[in-house]
């Protein structure tokens, strides 16, 4: 092989590694948004503010990772907010009320969430319930169970170190919770891009019958994805509990909509088969930066909601426009 073709091969590989899988549009949007806020406000462009934003997007960021997998598959999960609340209440009950150590309570909380996802997945694959309906039902069930644990009241009294994990910036930079989010992002990116299972998600989302005939176990993939999405919501719940230092069953309402918004802004198509985690991370950051910037500009929360709605429409319209041109 000639030297130039080795070089071009290496260049191609490098390009693959940094490829955003069609998320360049959202990335440009994010950069423009940051540039605008840098000039429009005094306090936006600082390390401290960026770290703040990361803290603020931790929970939605982790939920959005799971949601990306579900949407890539052509599905939807409306139950993430309720499942998050369920995991938090299980955590609070086991640790504070039952006095079990965190080493038991955290896995149990994530496990409870995973079971909820497993049930949704089985409803979808074995009983052919449409994902929208199955997870709508789970949204109600998980919320109800979360409230039943304490009959609706909140639980406080976590060990002090638990809350510190969300406050102390280790090495002056990262809180434990943000570090966990980064780990989730990295693992999800690697899985989606380099693992057989991750590539199979695209096949199933693109056309489940083609995937099945190609020898992919579509039902198993589906159940695993809903389980993973719920487990990630559970993990997000644990981190939120650390941040709030308390748990209550009404937490996490409408989180599913924020997560879906982040995924859609990041360029993942609701019909499945295209998009990915890279775009979702950018989508999460766009929402985080936008909220932060609008706060710094003292925009009223009502107007903020309107602006975020407009951003979702613009992101999807830009994507559709790009596809029609191509």
């Amino acid at each position: 092989m000639s030297e130039s073709s080795v070089n071009s091969q290496r260049g191609r590989k490098l390009a693959d590694f940094f490829s955003l899988g069609g998320a360049t549009g959202p990335l440009i949007g994010l950069i423009l948004l940051c540039a605008f806020l840098t000039f429009a406000t005094d306090s936006f462009f600082s390390v401290r503010n960026f770290l703040n934003i990361l803290d603020q997007v931790t929970v939605i960021g982790i939920i959005a990772v799971g949601m990306t997998f579900v949407i890539l598959l052509g599905g939807i999960d409306l139950s993430v907010g309720s499942v998050l609340a369920l995991a938090m209440m299980v955590l609070g009950y086991l640790n504070v009320e039952a006095g079990l150590p965190m080493g038991v309570a955290i896995p149990a909380a994530i496990g409870a969430a995973a079971v909820a996802g497993l049930i949704s997945g089985l409803l979808i694959t074995e009983f052919k319930v449409p994902p929208f309906i199955a997870t709508l039902a789970m949204m109600s069930i998980a919320r109800g169970l979360a409230s039943m644990i304490t009959n609706g009241s909140q639980i406080i009294g976590f060990p002090a170190w638990f809350n510190m994990g969300a406050i102390i910036r280790y090495g002056g930079v990262l809180t434990m919770t943000v570090a966990v989010m980064f780990v989730v992002f990295a693992v999800a990116l690697l899985f989606q891009r380099y693992r057989e299972g991750g590539r199979a998600l695209y096949a199933v989302g693109g056309n489940p019958e083609v995937a099945r005939l190609a020898g992919i176990n579509v039902n198993r993939v589906t159940v695993l994805v809903y389980t993973a999405c719920a487990a990630l919501s559970g993990l997000a719940g644990v981190l939120l509990a650390a941040r709030l230092d308390a748990v209550q069953p009404t937490i996490g309402i409408a989180y599913e909509l924020d997560a879906i918004a982040a995924v859609v802004i990041g360029g993942t198509s609701l019909s499945g088969g295209t998009g990915g985690i890279g775009g979702t991370i950018i989508g999460v950051l766009i929402i985080g930066v936008l909220r932060n910037g609008l706060n710094l500009l003292s925009v009223s929360p009502f107007l903020q909601a309107v602006i975020i709605g407009l951003v979702i429409v613009m992101a999807v319209a830009a994507e559709t426009f790009k596809q029609r041109k191509a």
């Binding site: 490829s19 380099y194 590539r199 199979a200 056309n207 019958e209 005939l213 190609a214 020898g215």
Partner: protein
Amino acid sequence: MTKTDTSPILTLKNIYKSFGPIEVLHGVDLEMRPGEVVALLGENGAGKSTLSNIISGTILPSSGEMTWQGAPYAPATPREAIDAGVGMIHQELLLLPHLSIAENVFVGRYPMKHGRVDRREMERRAQSGLQRLGLEVSPRRVVQGLSTASQQLIEIAKALTLNAKLLILDEPTAALGGEETKLLFEQIERLKTEGVGIIYISHRLEEIKQIADRIVVMRDGEKVQEFDTADIPVRTIVEAMVGRSMDQMFPPLASPSDDITLEVRNLGSALGHFHGVNFNVRRGEIFGIGGLVGAGRTELVRAIAGADPIAEGTVLLNGEDITPRSPRAAIDNGIVLVPEDRKQQGIILSHSIAENIAYSNFESVGKAGWITASRVRNFANENIGKFGVKGRGRQNASEMSGGNQQKVVIAKWLARNPRVVLLDEPTRGIDVGARSSIYEIIHGLAVEGVAVIVVSSDLEEVLGVSNRILVMAAGRQTGILDHSEANDVSVMELATA
């Protein structure tokens, strides 16, 4: 030739069409007289569809003149064309799945009475239209769940009730079996006596000979030849279409060994599509399966590939019982299926060729489940090169022609070195050039010792490639014919038995 005395209903003069900088029609002339069937032939991309879309008002020509019944004609929308009396049946089925058959037939032009839709009249007329085509279903039934053939017949019934003076039929028999095709031809004959002109587009040259009065051959956007009779040897037509002489459409017959690779014993479908099927396929044999649409052929090969559930019987590979319960199980045993419906079952159109090939070859592409984009790409480029696919791995499947898509579907399986390859309607909707190269690939497989099964509604194709032919009728196996005793009559006898 007998109608030269009547004046033309439609004339096209010097029609040009460009899409952006690319000119796809270069000055086409055409004349249609009442009561004649003109076969419009050509490979995919020859300009047949563009021309029919211009006549039916779907697109506008860039320049040129048309006259309709002596007056200038320039339809800007399909509605204008329909109102003038030009109807078109598209190759893709454009039915509304949740509406009833009658509603589909009359959509947009419901029969009215006292300002309300006259359902009884609508259903009566739909029913009579369906009966003429031999379709015995209630017009009140919703379209969803009907077979492709039935849907095609509804589409045809829809066009027949238009009272058009010119009908364009684009591949009307692509999904039809012999019996349904016969009924369609009877209707075409009836329309002819009523003075309706018909432009008939098809890849099935045998049926052209039966139905057409004249043949117009297009190639690369130009009319290259006109025959005033359809009584032309197939080879002459094909040579005009591809622009070179074809020594043979089909490669020589495969020469199988005596070892039996695949054996099917008393196989029955759990969904009731077929039962009691027994046959074997030898190493290096091409085994055809013929019969009418709905005879259970597709379901049979799907069951062998593990895609549909099996209720009874066994599938043996080299004497070992491997009756598959899932596609995975069949694939792991080296049994692969190139399915009937390429776009719904064979390939993901919105994904790249490389990804499509990788989906069925994860073990070879990745090491311990780790996959990189460059390995996916290299693997794809190696394999598409082997099978003469025109294109690169990074291209989207939707950008390729039907023939190339089909080659990709075949390539993704052949990369696994399978022992049994099941091909269901491998050349449906594919032009002549790509077709013969698919026959070459099939023949090459047999030479390498693969057991090949080819399901086809195209009699010429089954007869041309198969060492032996299994014929099915209504879910039963009605006979196995050796190549020496098989001809269109003996196959059709068994298919209607």
